[in-house]
Subunit: 596 residues, 2 copies
């Protein structure tokens, strides 16, 4: 049975020492988040993840969700009880607006807690996760009345939420959606249509489910310009907050999926369901995109989470399992064989994952902090920069981290040999669960296209110019520090190659957009590697400073070792990506479509 | 429901035009294999794979195998009938020795037919596949009496076979095995022990199951030097070939696996089971290794097969599914959206798979031909060279092709978007099935270690020197051919980088074997890429010659396009592998084992 130990030491290192949250203690939402409070929350969240959610992970995979004949859905044993505990302890509103009953703590802290939930039990984490997405949409686009009515119940978890975008014939291309909304005299709409792939679409764990539904108002413009966003509760709601009859919302079936069995993925059928418009008519996508950006950050986190938990288990197994002897002589002389961690190739797989995980954690937390600053900083420049970074880096976090996170799960499974292929050992589940993160919330190819086709050029490329300048300044600032030389050299190298790739895209993407499309995934990975190199340089500096100050905590020495591994053995992936990027569209597009 | 179309056009191209089997028509086993005969066999095999085995693939995944209370195992619906058809049509003995009832055709032709079986239904293909492995062991190491008795029934499929190596505490490290063999007065042995992960270990599709079992004769030497190989039939056999009572062989349980559900993976329990020694006592590994080499070639083929069939389905889907518009303007103006094959990133994933598949097919067929030549060539030099190539390239085919084949399945699934994650679409099954090929028959890390630690240096590095000289000569021979320039340049580049990697290993692997271990998987991939580049150069030459001779078959033009894609976008992976290889053991081994 796989285990999970929350990486609170690393989380504290990032929040306190690298990102130095205490710098922001004057700002709203950071005021109450003093180091002691942060540590207490992390420890409490770790306990819940380790003790309650981890043991339910295999249960969820094995039992899955069952749709009953009456359309209700039964979640895996223990999920309901765990969800009760989650909301009773106030976890769902941790970084939500205090005006609506949230605790108003920084988003980066909420994300750190979300990391533990998702590492322990990805399927379970999606129930509160989707609720967070839906409440985010209401908080962005809803009227005061809507916020007052829905948010308090969603922040406590009394009601949960979902996002209903996809239809069977359209996922990426929402302009083709067919769900229709018919205006009623009382200002509401009647929603009719069928949505697929609705995570947490139906279950019995909350008193109501608030579906956020994309639909086209009858007579509205064609394509994406005629899409509106609606609040459609599963059960009809009264002004006093009580719930009534079913609102014409039923779960038609649930999907039999490769993984995340513990989460109910539903076909949702809406038949004359009463819905409230959020924001302006025909402008639903605008709200949806803001919310999706946040969801994408969460999905990137899922990639890290499965990578982290699979790494932890593989590391334990590699220390336990004895098989063969070290190439440099027996290391376990009194035993019949050495533990397989003596083998360099086993180490390679473990270090690939570890160096990625620690870098990816820093990258995600760093961006989550930008999101906080974008909200609460009094400095307009800081807010602008943070918003730029959020735009540019969200697709990178979603695409790059879920791609590599999945690969790391595969390698962790590989370390188990034949046992890794047997379901009861749990390593297959990590692979199967991690796989969805590359697909949903915009497949990774869409993320790459969003990056090169939209985000890169926004505001005249300001975001990339800013991060480049920030990196240059950082390298300059640390020039001459011999201990940090490998990191600064690596960072300079990464930045130069990213720049070469960017230049190539600029020079060739205009003349033929397919040049940008053909290199988009390579470019996304280059930016991911470059950003992790930057994060490693920053973490190395912090760790080195702690050592220089006399700390003998082996955590810091390990951090430097792991960072040097990243520079030596992950950074070189830039070379191949750059070479491929520069071949452009021609080799990719040469074969006629009907000859495939 | 996924489909499969056997790539007979490509197979014929390889057998007739690239490998030119007709050159060997004077040799045993090639005599009957004239082009018409080969084509007829390929077409017949294709029909069986497409029409009978393909529809059973999802059935096998959904139903799996069931162990009944009496220890018998029920295979998925339709498997038994299909197996009857397979053996009635004589497929199992296609390239087996005529002396024992086989048809004596070239092994490379048998492998081409095996490709179709495994692409159509990997789980099904393992029943005849394992039988082939077991009969191979008997043909290598058995006495004349054993061969006379067992082989005819196995070549017809009346009896099937298995390989029993692994025990729960030892997979890679067979020296630790505990199954014991006690000599009996009549020259037989009583075998007692428990084996795990036994593919096709129990089922009702044949009259008997011939288990090949590794065990230690009581009092024999410790470690790998005391391991013997035994024939242990499931049912006791009489001299007249009739079968009797159970031989103390039972299936204790079957595994719940990530994939290949249609194949029964058994825990096999032997209790005083009567066994016959194969070959010499304590020298069972020698026979086992010869047989394993052949099995590894078959597993490499499985990697290609899942990559091929998943590619085919993704290509169909990409032409059918409409979503969004081409970056260069609508391509399906009258429809609501363009088929997703217009998107460069979708093409990239398809072309990555296609260029790999065609190259890998050439590589495997080329090596299978070496195996034939090693057996039947009258020229000692040819036989020696063929044997060298088999030794050197088998781990590359097993490790490199299954690694990349798996990645291609993941990409094919990705092309389906959310539907790829839903089991009924079948793309998940390709990923789950392909995954085992990286693990069994020696995990890919073991293949890499076999390559750098054993095969590379064998006979003073003769095999690598020979293939290098062959490549050099090939480049020289085609100098000045402008049409082939990209291929010859690419081949020169690949060969030079492989050489640099080899030199690095030679210079650094002796002083510290962990340097070789740390770079072993990178090196294996480099050799795989270099060999596929060589194969592409040869295929390009053949295709170009056909075009120059006036052929207007678009097959040849597509071949050149696909080959150029390989050079442009797959060959650059060499760069990253080489850079990582050259970082050596230090970054990999620096972290203390207990700090993982």
């Amino acid at each position: 049975m796989p285990t999970y130990k929350a990486p609170t030491r690393d989380q504290k290192f990032l929040l306190h020492e690298v990102l130095e949250l205490s710098r922001f203690s004057e700002l709203e939402s950071f005021q109450d988040a003093d180091p002691e409070m942060i540590d207490a929350i992390l420890e409490e969240s770790a306990k819940f993840a380790e003790e309650v959610l981890t043991p339910l992970n295999r249960v969820g995979d094995e039992h899955g969700c069952i749709r009953n004949d009456d359309g209700s859905v039964t979640t895996p044993p223990g999920f309901h009880e765990a969800f009760d505990q989650l909301r009773q302890n106030g976890w769902m509103g941790l970084s939500a607006d205090t005006k609506y009953g949230g605790q108003g703590l920084p988003g980066v802290l909420g994300l750190a807690c979300g990391e533990m939930t998702s590492s322990a039990n990805m399927s379970f984490g999606m129930y509160p996760g989707l609720t967070g997405g839906a409440s985010k949409a209401i908080s962005i686009g809803g009227s005061d009345e809507q916020k007052d009515f829905y948010l308090p119940k969603m922040y406590t978890g009394e009601w949960t939420g979902t996002m209903n975008l996809t239809e069977s014939h359209c996922g990426t291309d929402l302009g083709m959606l067919k769900t229709k909304a018919v205006p009623q005299k009382d200002g509401t709409y009647k929603i009719t249509g069928e949505k697929i792939f609705i995570s947490a679409g139906e279950h019995g764990m909350s008193d109501n489910i608030i579906h956020l539904v994309l639909a086209r108002i009858e007579g509205g413009p064609e394509g994406v310009k005629g899409i509106s966003l609606f609040i459609v509760p599963k059960l009809k709601v009264s002004k006093d907050g009580s719930v009534g009859d079913n609102n014409g919302v039923t779960c038609g079936s649930i999907e039999h999926k490769m993984g995340i069995h513990g989460n109910s993925t539903c076909v949702m059928v809406f038949e004359d369901s009463v819905g409230e418009l959020i924001g302006e008519a025909h402008k639903g996508l605008k709200v949806m995109f803001v919310m999706m950006n946040e969801a994408r950050l969460g999905v990137g986190m899922q990639g890290l989470c499965q990578s982290e938990v699979s790494y932890q288990n593989a590391a334990i197994y590699a220390n336990d399992r004895i098989q063969g002897r070290s190439l440099t002589g027996a290391k376990n002389e009194n035993g019949p064989a050495d533990p397989i961690i003596v083998h360099p190739d086993v180490r390679r797989m473990l270090m690939d994952s570890r160096a990625f995980n620690e870098g990816a954690r820093a990258f995600i937390y760093w961006l989550a902090l930008q999101e906080d600053l974008e909200k609460v900083s009094p400095d307009e420049k800081v807010r602008e920069r943070a918003d730029d970074y959020l735009g540019l880096m969200t697709p990178v976090i979603k695409g790059y981290i879920t791609d590599i996170g999945f690969n790391n799960c595969v390698n962790a499974q590989q370390i188990y040999g034949g046992h890794g292929y047997i379901e009861e050992w749990g390593m297959s589940q990590f692979v199967r669960d991690a796989r969805i993160a590359q697909i949903y919330e915009g497949a990774n190819g869409i993320q790459a296209l969003d990056l090169v086709g939209r985000k890169l050029a926004r505001n005249g490329g300001r975001a990339l110019m800013n991060i480049s300048a920030e990196i240059d300044a950082y390298i300059k600032e640390n020039e001459g520090n011999e201990d940090l030389k490998p990191f600064m050299d690596g960072l300079g190298d990464a930045k130069a190659k990213l720049q070469t790739g960017t230049m190539w895209l600029m020079q060739n993407g205009m003349s033929n957009p397919d040049n940008a499309g053909a290199g988009s995934v390579d470019y996304m990975h280059m930016m991911g590697i470059a950003m992790l190199t930057y994060m490693w340089a920053r973490m190395a500096k912090t760790a080195q400073a702690a050592i220089d100050a006399g700390s003998d905590d082996p955590f810091y020495a390990d951090k430097l070792i792991t960072g040097k591994y990243f520079i030596a053995r992950i950074l070189p992936n830039m070379d191949s990506h750059l070479a491929k990027l520069q071949t452009g569209a021609e080799p990719v597009m040469a074969l006629a479509a009907d000859r495939f």
